[in-house]
């Protein structure tokens, strides 16, 4: 049991660290703030969650396992929220999107009142 746990933990740890690295590379490479959020909040969260999972596997204290799981839940709850709030705030505050962005239906909707790509059922009344 412990041996398999260790191996599993090892894999998770490396994966977690890998995702953390991906997040770091992501925010370094991606072209604008809005794309970087993806790397940061998603890869970063996955990274820390995996590491915590590994810790939960290794730990022999049930209370710690429980807390690790609670932490994972908390991270899953908060990661999208913080990403959402960051992105929205930045956009509202006027930080521009990368010129390479392929579409902005939000802008489109505001300017033209309708969105071309969406089927009519999608368009708000």
């Amino acid at each position: 049991m412990s041996g398999i746990g260790n191996i599993l933990a090892g894999i998770f740890v490396v994966m977690g660290a890998g995702f953390a690295l991906i997040a770091a590379i992501g925010i370094l490479r991606l072209p604008d703030f809005y794309t970087r959020i993806h790397a940061a909040s998603k890869a970063g969260t996955v990274g820390s969650v995996l590491a915590l999972l590994a810790l939960a596997i290794v730990s022999d204290e049930s209370a710690e396992v429980l807390r690790a799981i609670a932490a994972i839940v908390f991270f899953f709850l908060t990661a999208p929220i913080s990403a959402h709030l960051l992105g929205r705030s930045a956009y509202t505050a006027g930080y521009r999107m990368w010129e390479g962005s392929v579409r902005n239906e939000m802008q489109e909707l505001k300017e033209t009142g309708r969105v071309e790509s969406a089927p009519s059922s999608e368009a708000p009344s």
């Binding site: 041996g3 090892g10 740890v13 915590l52 913080s82 705030s89």
Partner: protein, 119 residues
């Protein structure tokens, strides 16, 4: 070498690799924070730094056997979230602040230039 011994060795190696990756991640994140160029970018950098640190804590916890370090990781997660959303809130309200400074006259051009240089 039985399974337990192998798994211990395996875990050790994995932990070292993980630590190396995490260190690299931390350094790269620092680079983004240094580069900016905008406030949101830096906030994002801090966010990544926080989650890397959480990973770091977990790995060290496993490495040293003090798995109770998980609590530190949790606390960091909580406070990191708080920091991120308060920055978000700040970024949101800052637009207003810029247009009509809370106190005194409208922002002079030179100050505005400085502020923009700031980002």
């Amino acid at each position: 070498m039985n399974l337990l011994q192998f798994s211990d060795l395996f875990l050790d190696v994995c932990l070292s690799i993980a630590l190396a990756l995490l260190c690299l991640a931390l350094l790269l994140t620092v680079a983004r924070i240094w580069k900016g160029p905008t406030l949101p970018d830096r906030v994002l950098g801090l966010d990544v730094l926080t989650s890397s640190a959480i990973g770091f804590i977990a790995v060290i916890g496993i490495d040293t056997g003090f798995t109770l370090y998980v609590d530190i990781a949790i606390a960091l997660g909580l406070v990191g979230f708080l920091a991120t959303i308060s920055f978000a809130r700040f970024i949101l309200t800052r637009g207003d602040t810029e247009r009509s400074p809370v106190y005194g006259a409208p922002e002079p051009a030179d100050l505005r230039a400085r502020r923009e240089e700031d980002e």
